[in-house]
């Protein structure tokens, strides 16, 4: 018995130590439960972080686009007449965002916005010899745009250089057209304008469709090909908090009058999948937590029965009901604590192990390792609380034992 250790702690620890096999079994059960929770949570967080990283390094957080053109019927119904008009939606031609420079300068001062990049997108035809492929032409200011979409990270040959007569294309388009670095291709835009451009870089975005269609040219080149000199079709933004993108988009739309789409809205399906994963993970946690709680409770119920004489004698010696209650609550908390420490360590180790084993074809990691200390702290805290809560019923039963009945057995 150490000095400065209260009666409840000494007794709870001794009871656990004496019932060593029971203690080991239930600590193991708690540890397995906590390990499953920690492993699943860490894995889910890692995969989610990986997906978000991939999504957010290949698209802007918010995209500003010009409002749709709408038809405005000139003829109005006269007094006492009803006009049954059929208004046809006009075809959407490529248009520039009105006063985009002013909007860019305005948004650049917002603290929640990190980068504003003007871009010009248009459809075109890439032609080389007899081969031609339709492409999406993206005119960019590389210095700003590459801060949003990390094309340099995906370059597999050449450089991400886009000067006036340069073009950066995907590996699959290069194969289809039979071109390589420094080769020239003829780009004809839908406007009728065409230009000979030199391939300066090849990228691989990991998606054949994207590698076939996406191309990058200088902003002024795209503007010239689209007959939209000085104009931009989109303003791409990144924000400080990616999860606040939707609220920032709404604020931008309110402030500028330009339609703003956040990555959250354009990737709604992703969030549906994440929410489904979260729900299933929560359910698994709940059921694992319940099984841990019932395990602890059953062990303590048996312990109360086994120790009823001890409890009776302690009560006869002047131990209060509160002290008996605390002895058993502490046992529940200690079982939860011991099990969760072991389980958190095991769960964390399992994630590290799988992270080391699971690799992509190129040897890079399949998912980034996300092990937040808060996950371990909350797992231990919740397990301790579960242990204490699970111990409540047996502890109350122990505290309420009639000492006469308990001693008599």
């Amino acid at each position: 018995m150490n000095r400065l250790t209260p009666f409840e702690w000494i007794t709870a620890l001794r009871f656990l130590k004496e019932g060593r096999m029971q203690t080991i079994f239930i600590v193991t059960a708690v540890a397995i439960g906590v390990a499953v929770i920690v492993f699943m949570s860490a894995l889910l967080a890692s995969l989610q972080a990986n997906f978000i990283k991939r999504v957010l390094t290949s698209q802007p957080h918010i995209q500003l686009i010009p409002p749709d053109e709408v038809a405005r019927p000139l003829r109005q119904p006269g007094s006492g007449h009803i006009l049954a008009a059929i208004v046809q939606r006009p075809a959407q031609r490529i248009r520039s965002i009105d006063q985009w420079q002013k909007i860019r300068d305005q948004l650049s001062t917002w603290p929640e916005i990190v980068t504003v990049s003007p871009t010009m997108t248009a459809s075109a035809l890439a032609v080389r010899g007899d081969a031609s492929r339709s492409i999406s032409l993206t005119g960019i200011d590389p210095e700003v745009y590459f801060r949003i979409v990390r094309i340099p990270d995906y370059i597999v040959a050449g450089q991400p250089r886009v000067q006036t007569d340069d073009i950066v294309i995907g590996t699959d388009l290069a194969k289809e057209l039979g071109v390589t670095l420094a080769d020239k291709i003829n780009v004809s835009a839908a406007s009728g304008a065409s230009r000979i451009l030199t391939v300066t870089g090849l990228f691989d975005l990991g998606n054949k469709g994207a590698n076939l269609r996406t191309t990058f040219v200088a902003l002024r080149t795209a503007q010239a090909l689209s007959n939209l000199v000085g104009g931009v079709t989109t303003l791409d933004l990144t924000v400080t908090d990616v999860y606040a993108a939707e609220s920032v988009a709404q604020a931008v739309q309110a402030a500028t009058g330009v339609e703003a789409d956040s990555w959250i809205r354009t990737n709604a399906q992703f969030f549906t999948a994440v929410n489904a994963q979260k729900t299933s993970n929560t359910l698994i946690r709940l059921f694992v937590g319940l099984s841990v709680a019932f395990g602890i409770a059953s062990v303590l119920v048996v312990s109360v029965i086994q120790r009823s004489k001890d409890i009776g004698i302690l009560r006869a010696m002047g131990t209060s009901q509160g002290q008996i209650l605390r002895v058993f609550l502490l046992q529940g908390g200690l079982l939860g604590f011991l099990g969760s420490v072991v389980g958190a360590a095991a769960g964390g180790s399992a994630v590290v192990f799988w992270h080391g084993i699971l690799r992509q074809a190129d040897g890079s990691e399949l998912f980034p390792l996300v092990l937040e200390p808060s996950l371990f702290i909350s797992a231990v805290f919740l397990a301790v609380m579960t242990g204490v809560a699970a111990a409540a019923v047996p502890a109350l039963r122990a505290a309420k034992l009639d000492p006469v009945v308990a001693i008599r057995g």
Binding site: M1, N2, R3, L4, T5, P6, F7, I10, T11, R14, F15, K17, E18, K309, D310, G312, I313, L314, R315, A316, M317, G318, T319, S320, Q321, Q323, P403, V404, I407
Partner: protein
């Protein structure tokens, strides 16, 4: 508290079970009993006579249906559970037929337990007092043994030391020798008498052994829930 205050006084104590039901039964009837300081009294009676019920009421483990119980001059009927628990811890020691030591603790820790319950933190004083009590019952060499690793007689001696830990005015012993062989029973009984003489602790000893009962200061007999011999303290009786 004046020295002539009895450590125990019962006035018209009754105990009934199943109160208010058709099967209500009164097991103790109008008990009058008094124990002076330093008395060593035997409580005898046939099985089912109400001895254990009486002992539980005296030990504040149960409450009387009627009548008053005074421990060390303090009337206990109006005390709440917390006060009853405190009074029980301070003023009464228990020795049971089966020692009921806590198997998770050593002999020394079992003796320290009432002190630990009271003061919460173990101190050197506590340890010294427990060691002293174990020395008094002749168990110093076994003080670090777990209770389970000791003989029945040794365990009962540890139980006596534990009962004395809080230096109570009264020790209630419920057939403490009933489960021991003759030699061990005699050793334990002599030990209690020695404690009674040395510490002045009053003992109320429930026993079926008339030989031991006759060695007490006086005998109180319970038959069918009534005391059939006078309950007042005898003037003097020596062990």
């Amino acid at each position: 508290m004046a020295d002539d205050t009895p450590v125990l006084r019962l006035e018209g104590v009754c105990k009934s079970y199943n109160i208010g039901t058709p099967v209500e039964v009164e097991v103790l009837h109008d008990i009058e009993l008094e124990l002076g300081r330093g008395e060593f009294v035997a409580l005898i009676g046939p099985s089912g006579s109400g001895k254990s019920t009486l002992l539980n009421i005296i030990g504040l483990l149960d409450r009387p249906t009627k009548g008053s119980l005074f421990i060390d001059g303090q009337e206990t009927n109006r005390l709440d559970d917390t006060a009853i628990t405190g009074l029980r811890g301070h003023s009464i020691g228990f020795v049971f037929q089966y020692h009921y030591l806590i198997s998770a603790f050593t002999a020394l820790e079992n003796v320290m337990m009432p002190l630990l319950v009271e003061r919460n933190f173990p101190t050197d004083d506590m340890r010294q007092r427990a060691a002293g009590l174990l020395a008094q019952v002749g168990l110093t060499p076994w003080q670090d043994n777990l209770a389970n690793n000791m003989s029945g007689g040794q365990q009962q001696r540890v139980a006596i030391a534990r009962a004395l830990a809080m230096n109570p005015a009264l020790v209630l012993a419920d057939e403490p020798t009933g489960n021991l062989d003759t030699k061990s029973a005699d050793t334990v009984f002599e030990l209690m008498q020695q404690v009674n003489r040395t510490n002045g602790t009053a003992f109320l000893l429930v026993t079926h052994n008339m030989e031991l009962a006759r060695r007490c200061h006086r005998i109180v007999e319970v038959v069918d829930g009534r005391i059939v011999t006078p309950g007042s303290a005898s003037a003097s009786a020596s062990a």
